[in-house]
């Protein structure tokens, strides 16, 4: 493979994903509004919000440390790196060797640690509350996520996402029953990690229920913009990981320009469907009490484990 074209592909993919991430969030919100019989703010709303926030002056608490100030940049960097190394459009990119599933989970964990620390940095009670809840959700969601990814890597004998995509997407079609378990578990982890409805409500500012919003309450202007952008990137990253593992068909190989065009079209279709599905799921389910969250994520972990077990029983 030509190194130059690989780099072009890599840059194209990274930039494209960063640009469409707010659109993805806008689309999910728009679908939710439609399902609730509202007219909605339009799919471009997140861009308008980002634009507004970038033009405001930032307000910082007097006792804010450097950690608080640098966290939005670290968070945004982590998420950008995550979507950059996931094979969204093409496999065998220059960054592909870094797209190890364990490294990805570690990257999300790094972002989580910094956000939680920043939330506690100011010393307000809401920040601390949100940080504690986030860590609770995180430590329950991470094992489930890892088990899900291990199920996929057992099939392809590699923890590299690019290899998983190659194995599942570019060979003849084989039905893997274990992937059915893994898919359900992954969906549950996706909802929990991205502060979506059964665990957290992204549009609430009610003290008793918020998790993610409580942590970022002290941020304003460009910091808040970066945090918001990063959370839409995180949602996109999770959805594209899901696409790469469970519906990898259509992802191009690097250096293949016509394949790339098809891959972009296929990606748009998949993201549209995924966003609509996410909105539907959020509309039909109710937010659960915070103490039910361990049960929800325990179920996810159990399903992922069952997936691994069925792999050993049925697919060897």
């Amino acid at each position: 493979m030509n190194i130059a074209s690989g780099i072009v592909f890599q840059v194209l993919q990274s930039v494209l994903v960063v640009l469409i991430a707010p659109l993805m969030l806008g689309w999910v919100n728009q679908c939710r509004a439609w399902l609730q019989n509202k007219s909605g703010a339009g799919i471009w709303q997140p861009y308008k919000v980002l634009n507004k926030l970038f033009h405001k002056d930032a307000v910082l608490a007097h006792n804010a440390s450097h950690l608080f100030r640098s966290t939005p940049y670290i968070l945004f960097g982590c998420m950008w790196l995550a979507v950059g190394i996931v094979p969204v459009l093409a496999t065998s990119l220059p960054f592909a060797p870094a797209a190890d599933v364990i490294a990805l989970v570690g990257l999300f964990a790094l972002a989580r640690v910094f956000v939680s620390l920043a939330a506690m940095d100011i010393g307000t009670s809401f920040g601390t509350l949100g940080a504690r809840r986030e860590m609770m959700i995180g430590f329950l969601a991470e094992p489930a996520m890892l088990m899900t990814l291990f199920t996929a890597s057992l099939i392809s004998h590699s923890t590299s996402l690019a290899t998983i995509v190659e194995t599942l997407g570019h060979r003849e079609l084989v039905i893997y029953p274990s992937m059915a378990f893994a898919a359900v578990a992954f969906l549950m982890v996706l909802l929990a990690e991205n502060a979506r409805i059964p665990i957290d409500n992204p549009s609430t500012h009610l003290e008793l229920t918020m998790i993610h919003e409580a942590m970022i309450l002290e941020y304003s202007a460009r910091h808040l913009a970066l945090v918001e952008w990063a959370s839409s990137l995180k949602l996109t990253a999770y959805i594209t990981i899901g696409i790469a593992i469970f519906v990898p068909w259509g992802i191009a190989q690097a250096g293949d320009w016509t394949g790339m065009l098809i891959a972009i079209a296929v990606l748009v279709v998949k993201l549209t469907l995924a966003g609509a599905g996410l909105a539907l799921l959020e509309t039909v389910s109710a937010k659960m009490r915070i103490f039910r969250a361990p049960e929800f994520l325990g179920t996810a972990f159990m399903l992922a484990t069952l997936g691994m077990l069925t792999h050993f029983l049925l697919e060897r």
């Binding site: 003849e172 084989v174 039905i175 274990s178 077990l309 069925t310 029983l313 049925l314």
Partner: protein
């Protein structure tokens, strides 16, 4: 590994069966429990049809039809009528909390898979690897009967166990002889009707469907 397409399909349906068994184990509401039971019956019908078609065993079509009528349509309908008549749409109370039940469930699944592994070595059928899943779903429905306190969900556990047994029969030997199958189907039917009558009696005597009350020997 490149299994034939039908085997893959049966494996997928078997996995769905196990998934539904777990969903029933963790379900809190009786109404959803009944719907899941009907869905499990439907998956069972599909898998029986696939086995019948791929192995040209024509008697399996009859068992599939029997399962469809009995377990997907008739029994759920009776159950729905029963809980309407008894007015019991409360949340199911479990003896052990649900996360602990799930952990026990996983242990049971590992046990069942290990138990079935040497047996399925000897089976010559195309569905041999699903024997472990059938055993697991039988054990899981046992667990459900043990951990539930209310009579209705215990009966659903009993019927689920029958589903697991039926699946085990299909996967190990391409189904039981027709006479046995008809007998079991009739047993289940009559059994659930008697259970229905029992529910009314239990509630009339104790004003509750909680099996706990049956443990006392004295009259109130």
């Amino acid at each position: 590994m490149n299994l034939p397409f039908y085997t893959q399909l049966i494996n997928l349906l078997a996995a769905l069966l196990l998934l539904l068994a777990f969903a029933m184990l963790t379900q809190r509401r009786i109404l959803s429990l009944i719907n899941l039971f009907a869905l499990q019956g439907f998956v069972l019908v599909l898998s029986t049809l696939v086995v019948a078609y791929s192995t040209h065993q024509s008697h399996l079509y009859y068992s599939a039809l029997l399962t469809l009528i009995l377990k997907v349509l008739f029994l759920p309908w009776i159950m729905h009528r029963l809980i309407h008549a008894l007015n019991v749409r409360w949340d199911v109370e479990t003896l052990i909390d649900i996360p602990a039940t799930m952990l026990i469930g996983i242990v049971l699944v590992i046990f069942a898979f290990n138990l079935a592994a040497p047996i399925s070595q000897f089976a010559g059928t195309i569905t041999k690897s699903t024997l472990g899943i059938a055993t697991a779903s039988i054990l899981l429905s046992f667990l459900m009967m043990i951990t539930r306190r209310k009579a209705v969900s215990q009966v659903i556990g009993f019927l689920t166990m029958e589903n697991g047994l039926f699946f085990a029969a299909t996967s190990a030997t391409y189904g039981m002889p027709m006479v046995v199958e008809l007998g079991i189907a009739l047993d289940v039917l009559v059994g659930s009707l008697i259970f229905g009558v029992f529910f009314f009696h239990i509630r009339e005597t104790f004003e509750s469907l909680d099996i706990h009350h049956l443990e006392k020997l004295k009259e109130r």
